[in-house]
């Protein structure tokens, strides 16, 4: 596919974008590169700062473009990187049918009018490709400056740990207050009480823990009234355990992630304990919810269809509300791909980042779902390794959905060895068929089904 390399100069909004775009024109940052047989469309997925890559697409007829990144520059550096990659023949672009997300973008866009003006820039500010190509002069290493930076970083980390420990003390005192005031009254006044202590946790730099406490009422109030007292004990007990564990080992990355903030993608990939697993993955579910800080949390559940590594992976991304989590940027349930997933270091591996990946060839039949460990053993192992876990993904054996006299739903194993209550409704088809395998999330003694295999094919819910 032929593209004039100089086109990026005309498209870039400024020199910084152009330089950043050139920096992204490296094959290692891209996966799923392709172009349409008529060479009008090109697309690719570029690793960004999130757990999932950004999806980038260009219409070569009028150089219209789209990227799922939140940048306000148009075109963004990822689009410029894709064009540079193609124009410079730096990576192979496989000809083929465009993915669904490219088709959806095409359906939404209007072609540029012939009279569309070029990007307006101040005089003398036109991006220069040659200048962007020139490498920045390396500043000589200054050992003293480097040591100062490291000292400052260490000091900041210590201050954060100290502040968090204070905040955890506040949390423990608050938990003690709830016990003294009675959990009956706590259940009745949960939102207000949790909001107050969450604000104090934010002040104490325990932002991740603050979100968790803030969302505690939503988790408990979703349960039947009779189960809320016990669920409150479980939730508060987990908070106590997490606080104790953090105090004992404040540098543990899994605990800092749950209490303060998650590591960057780069630091996860560079961490010696990060485990990368290459396998065929199936997307089980794609869930969204909004935090009280108006960040939209996008969780994608993946099932490892290979033999090695953890069975499940959870990709978590955050978007500001209003940035619009577009459907085209998501992995849809039922999609398969082969790729490498890097798990955040933790005693119980679950949260992960998607590294390079490629679509499964249409002719390749997706592998069958593997048998999982017995569900009870999986739950206990997960809660032993990380007692503060809020949900545990499960692979269930052959079973069927049943109902009791109150019309509550239950999943029962075919051999009758296990019966679990369901947390909510499922689509009708799930009710009238044998589920040869099923996956779900176990939380608060209830199962939320995500996907299943059945005589009617693969079923997805979420």
């Amino acid at each position: 596919m032929q593209i004039d390399p100089g086109i990026v100069e005309q498209l870039a909004v400024d020199q910084a974008s152009l330089r950043a775009g050139l920096g992204l024109a490296k094959p290692a940052k891209w996966s799923g590169l392709g172009h349409s047989p008529d060479e009008t469309l090109l697309w690719g997925e570029c690793a960004g700062s999130g757990a999932r890559p950004y999806r980038v697409m260009v219409d070569a007829r009028d150089m219209g473009s789209k990227c799922t990144c939140p940048s306000r520059k148009f075109p963004c550096k990822h689009v410029l990187g894709l064009i540079c990659l193609c124009a410079g023949h730096k990576a192979p672009f496989a000809p083929g049918a465009p993915p669904e997300w490219v088709g959806e973008w095409l359906a939404r866009r209007r072609p540029k009018a012939a009279t569309t003006p070029a990007v307006a820039r101040p005089a003398g500010m036109a991006p220069d490709l040659e200048a962007a190509r020139q490498a920045r002069p390396n500043t000589p290493d200054d050992p003293k400056a480097e040591a100062r930076r490291e000292d400052a970083a260490r000091k900041r980390a210590e201050e954060t740990t100290q502040a968090v420990c204070c905040a955890l003390g506040t949390l423990e005192q608050w938990i003690g207050d709830q016990l003294r005031l009675g959990l009956g009254s706590f259940v009745d006044n949960m939102p207000e009480r949790c909001r107050q202590v969450a604000a104090r946790l934010v002040d104490g730099k325990a932002t991740a823990l603050a979100s968790r406490v803030d969302e505690l009422p939503a988790r408990i109030l979703a349960l039947p009234a009779g189960a809320r007292l016990q669920a409150s004990v479980v939730e508060l007990g987990k908070l106590v355990q997490l606080a104790c564990a953090f105090r004992a080992a404040p540098q543990r990355p899994d605990l800092r992630r749950l209490v303060c903030t998650a590591e960057t993608r780069e630091s996860v990939l560079a961490h010696p304990d990060t485990r990368s697993v290459h396998a065929v993955w199936e997307v089980l579910a794609s869930q969204q919810h909004m935090q009280r800080d108006r960040l939209v949390v996008q969780t994608t559940w993946l099932l490892n269809l290979g033999d090695g590594g953890p069975r499940f992976a959870m990709l978590v991304d955050f978007f500001p509300k209003g940035a619009g989590v577009q459907r085209g940027g998501l992995f849809m349930p039922g999609a398969y791909f082969t790729g490498t997933v890097a798990f955040y270091p933790a005693p119980y591996l679950l949260r992960a980042i998607l590294c390079e990946h490629a679509a499964l060839q249409p002719d390749d039949p997706p592998p069958d779902w593997p048998a999982g460990e017995p569900p009870r053993a999986t739950i206990n192992a997960a809660l032993l390794a990380a007692p503060w876990s809020l949900e545990v993904p499960l692979m269930l054996p052959a079973g069927r959905i049943m109902h009791d006299e109150a019309k509550h739903l239950w999943w029962r194993a075919d051999d009758g060895s296990l019966t679990l209550p369901l947390a909510g409704d499922v689509p009708p088809v799930w009710l009238g068929t044998d589920l040869t395998r099923a996956t779900g999330l176990w939380a608060h003694g209830r199962l939320t089904l995500l996907a299943a295999r059945s005589a009617w094919g693969r079923l997805y819910h979420g």
């Binding site: 088709g103 009018a113 016990l179 049943m402 109902h403 689509p427 009708p428 088809v429 009617w456 094919g457």
Partner: protein, 474 residues
């Protein structure tokens, strides 16, 4: 070790619920709780939480029951390779247009996967889905079993072996193969049916009711206790004979019209609407056109019903034309409809939603003829309108040489053409109503006009074409 903890949990939870310290009663864990009361409470909380989370299971009721399995339907599911495309299209068809795809697949010899779509008990869907409708109704009613549908024709003996939807489908089959038998069966069963059931069966009878059904219709119209079956029977009767309305009303209506000589030699006749001076007169005429059946109106004018549409003063008053079309769609005898359709296509007002009622009464070929009417104008949603008229009962060929399609072609670049959502709706509707040949022609023309094949708005057209290659044609 576990049993004492189980025993201990109830008093611990009870104390915490009330705000009393629980550590003193947690005898099993005393050694690890420590001396500080606050610390002991927190440790007990952590231990109790973990215990409840891992060791305590919900009590399983002894009365758990499985739901009946989803029955198979008569047509095979669409090929697996088309499943992603079908799911994408279903995602785009959020309203009743989704039923358009259901009908299209049935015409090509396929059913949908219940994981992708399941009919509601009262949806107007092809009869092949009746077993699923009965299944859905059984699930909602909490039934534990679903009887297999008999293969034998519907009869008084096997009446209860059918579910409501499969029974209705079996009744329609019986009506088709043995009209008198269906009428007799309805007569036999009707006193044991609910008003809704009577209404549904009467609707089936009414689709091709003839003179032999008149006694039954008279009986229902005069004796049924429920309002809706009574009204429907009266309406069906009005299509068969005069006298179902007050004669004075028909006479009053004729007062708004005159029959005058027409043609160069004056040897022909034409109906002329009398000029109206007041809004009250307009309202009265509108009310009478709504209430008086066609046969009574024609008799009062001393005309044959088939002459009405031929002699009607088309294009003088569009509102009057639509009132007449609605009157004929409601109460006109079957014999009048072909002539009415031709008159509308030749002289009638442009497409309006009112035509949908008329389309309901037309056979498939005539319905397709009527559905072409909106395509003759560059309406905002011409293909969508045509789809509504077809209601899944037919397809259109040669849609490319129409103003409506030219508007779609131009909309890709035209600034003042169809809006983006309307264009997407039109392309979807086009894909749902086109024959495979028309879909191929449309796809070629669209690509030539600059639409890219990957554009997801063309998914329905692509699916239409793909189904032709794989489908067992009906």
């Amino acid at each position: 070790m576990v049993e004492p903890v189980y025993d201990m949990m109830a008093p611990v939870l009870a104390r915490w619920a009330m705000g009393a310290p629980a550590a003193p009663v947690a005898t099993a864990w005393q050694p690890v709780l420590g001396q500080d009361p606050a610390v002991a409470e927190r440790r007990l909380l952590a231990l109790s939480g973990q215990f409840l989370d891992t060791m305590v299971e919900a009590a399983v009721p002894a009365s758990l029951r499985a739901f009946p399995p989803i029955p198979q339907v008569a047509l095979p599911p669409a090929p697996e390779v088309l499943t992603p495309m079908i799911r994408r299209v279903l995602g785009q068809l959020k309203d009743e247009r989704g039923l358009g795809l259901v009908h299209l697949l049935a015409r090509r010899g396929y059913s949908l996967n219940p994981a992708d779509w399941m009919p509601a008990p009262h949806d107007d869907v092809p009869a092949l889905y009746a077993p699923w409708q009965d299944w859905a109704a059984a699930i909602a009613a909490g039934q534990e079993t679903l009887r297999p549908t008999p293969d034998a024709p519907l009869s008084a003996e096997n009446w209860h072996d059918f579910g409501p939807a499969t029974r209705l489908a079996a009744f329609a089959r019986l009506r088709h193969s043995d009209p008198a038998g269906a009428c007799a069966l309805f007569e036999n069963r009707r006193r044991h049916l609910t008003a809704d059931e009577r209404l549904s069966l009467l609707d089936v009878l009414g689709a091709d009711a003839g003179p032999e059904d008149v006694p039954l219709l008279r009986d229902i119209a005069s004796t049924d206790r429920a309002r809706k079956p009574k009204e429907l029977a009266t309406l069906l009767l009005a299509r068969q004979e005069t006298g179902t309305c007050d004669r004075a009303m028909a006479e009053e209506l004729t007062g708004f019209f005159t029959i005058e000589p027409a043609g160069a030699a004056g040897g022909q006749q034409a109906i002329k609407a009398m000029p109206l001076k007041t809004q009250a007169q307009k309202n009265t005429r509108w009310r009478l056109l709504y209430l008086v059946p066609v046969l009574d109106f024609a008799a009062a004018l001393d005309l044959a019903p088939t002459d009405l549409s031929r002699l009607w003063p088309w294009n003088v008053d569009e509102r009057l034309d639509m009132d007449f079309i609605n009157m004929a769609a409601k109460s006109g005898p079957d014999a009048m409809l072909p002539g009415l359709l031709q008159a509308i296509l030749a002289n009638g007002p442009p497409y309006r939603r009112d035509y949908d009622a008329l389309a309901e009464r037309l056979p498939v070929a005539a319905r397709a003829q009527l559905a072409r009417a909106p395509l003759a104008a560059e309406g905002r949603l011409a293909f969508f309108s045509a789809l509504g008229l077809l209601a899944g009962r037919g397809e259109l060929d040669d849609v490319v040489n129409t103003p409506a399609f030219r508007a779609v072609l131009a909309a890709r670049t035209a600034e003042n053409g169809l809006s983006a959502p309307n264009l997407a709706t039109e392309l979807l509707a086009l894909g749902l109503l086109a024959t495979p040949r028309a879909a191929r022609q449309a796809m070629a023309a669209l690509e030539q006009a600059g639409y890219l094949a990957a554009d997801s708005r063309l998914d329905m057209l692509r699916l239409n074409i793909a189904l032709e290659k794989t489908g067992a044609q009906e």
